[in-house]
């Protein structure tokens, strides 16, 4: 039961580490003035995984490190960097784990091929169930 309440405390997004005394970074909880840039930043933040949480994106997390990462994302988008480049920079440092969207690398291909493969396999399995030619 104690475990449940510890985990529920994380549901309320309290970080695992002790809290620092500093306020959040400037762009952690402010939107960029340009709505298009903010939308790009928001989309990227929803795809980046929080390093100190139990399975949340940095967009959803209250943790300080997540706030600092949101600040990083927004500053770089405002500076004109492309979301893909920011993601690549972070993946270079933390590995593919940090990206909730599986990247284009080899290990992730089965994920993207799976839907098509499953559809084909499924269609093959039911091929005899449906009469495609009249009178066959």
């Amino acid at each position: 039961m104690r475990r449940l309440l510890i985990l529920l405390a994380l549901v309320a997004a309290q970080p695992l580490l002790a809290d620092s005394n500093l306020p959040p970074a400037y762009w952690a909880n402010r939107q960029l003035p340009d709505p298009k840039e903010e939308a790009k930043a928001q989309a990227l933040m929803e795809e980046l995984r929080c390093l100190v949480c139990q399975g949340q994106s940095i967009a959803d997390s209250d943790a300080e490190l997540a706030g600092d990462m949101r600040d990083l994302v927004r500053r770089r988008i405002a500076a004109g960097e492309k979301p893909g480049d920011i993601r690549a920079w972070l993946v270079q440092r933390y590995g593919t784990w940090i990206s909730y969207k599986p990247t284009a690398e080899l290990a992730a291909w089965p994920l993207w091929l799976a839907p098509i493969a499953l559809l084909i396999i499924g269609a093959w399995l039911i091929r005899r169930r449906i009469k495609l030619k009249a009178g066959s």
Partner: protein
């Protein structure tokens, strides 16, 4: 229905159960290690953390000799006991630099005054920017950087007394 088709679900179940058994036997760790081991230290310069010590920048770390970069904070509880171990390493001739994450200068100064100061240089990283650029995800963590500025080893969590021989060995390897 063909025989191979009828036995496919069973075969898939076997694979899945094997994977689950493996996972139960080797539990996942919540640490996210940096991928920069073996790569050059990214360029950075930090503001001064305390007036008594110079600040850290990437160039300072490529001195020709391996050094430890310790990422810490005054609000980090395990860092307190780690300072003693770092003092011991310093006593053995190891050069240690510190990066204080999300900290105020007076808090850092107080921390060092209370617990000791094993660092040659200390930089202040108030928004975790350098911490993120190193691929670090918490405090305390330590990086062993060799003489040419390449990261050779990341130690997640405090360096404990029992880790000292291993750290010294890694420093030797980094020469």
């Amino acid at each position: 229905m063909s025989r191979s088709l009828r036995f496919t679900p069973l075969a898939l179940l076997l694979l899945i159960v094997l994977a689950l058994i493996w996972r139960l036997a080797t539990p996942t760790s919540t640490n996210v290690p940096s991928k920069l081991e073996g790569k050059a230290l990214p360029n950075f310069t930090l503001a001064e953390a305390v007036p008594s010590k110079p600040t850290v920048s990437a160039a300072d770390l490529a001195t020709g000799e391996p050094r430890i970069v310790n990422i810490f904070a005054s609000w980090c509880v395990p860092c307190v006991s780690e300072v003693k171990v770092l003092q011991e390493l310093k006593g053995r001739g190891v050069a240690i630099d510190g990066i204080a994450v999300r900290d105020k200068p007076q808090d850092i100064a107080e921390f060092l005054a209370r617990n000791g100061n094993p660092y040659e240089r200390i930089g202040s990283d108030p928004q975790s920017q350098v911490q993120i650029s190193l691929g670090s995800s918490g405090v305390p963590e330590s990086f062993i950087v060799d003489g040419k500025g390449v990261i050779r080893y990341q130690h997640i969590g405090p360096i404990e007394q029992s880790d000292v021989p291993m750290i010294l060995a890694k420093l030797e390897q980094a020469r």
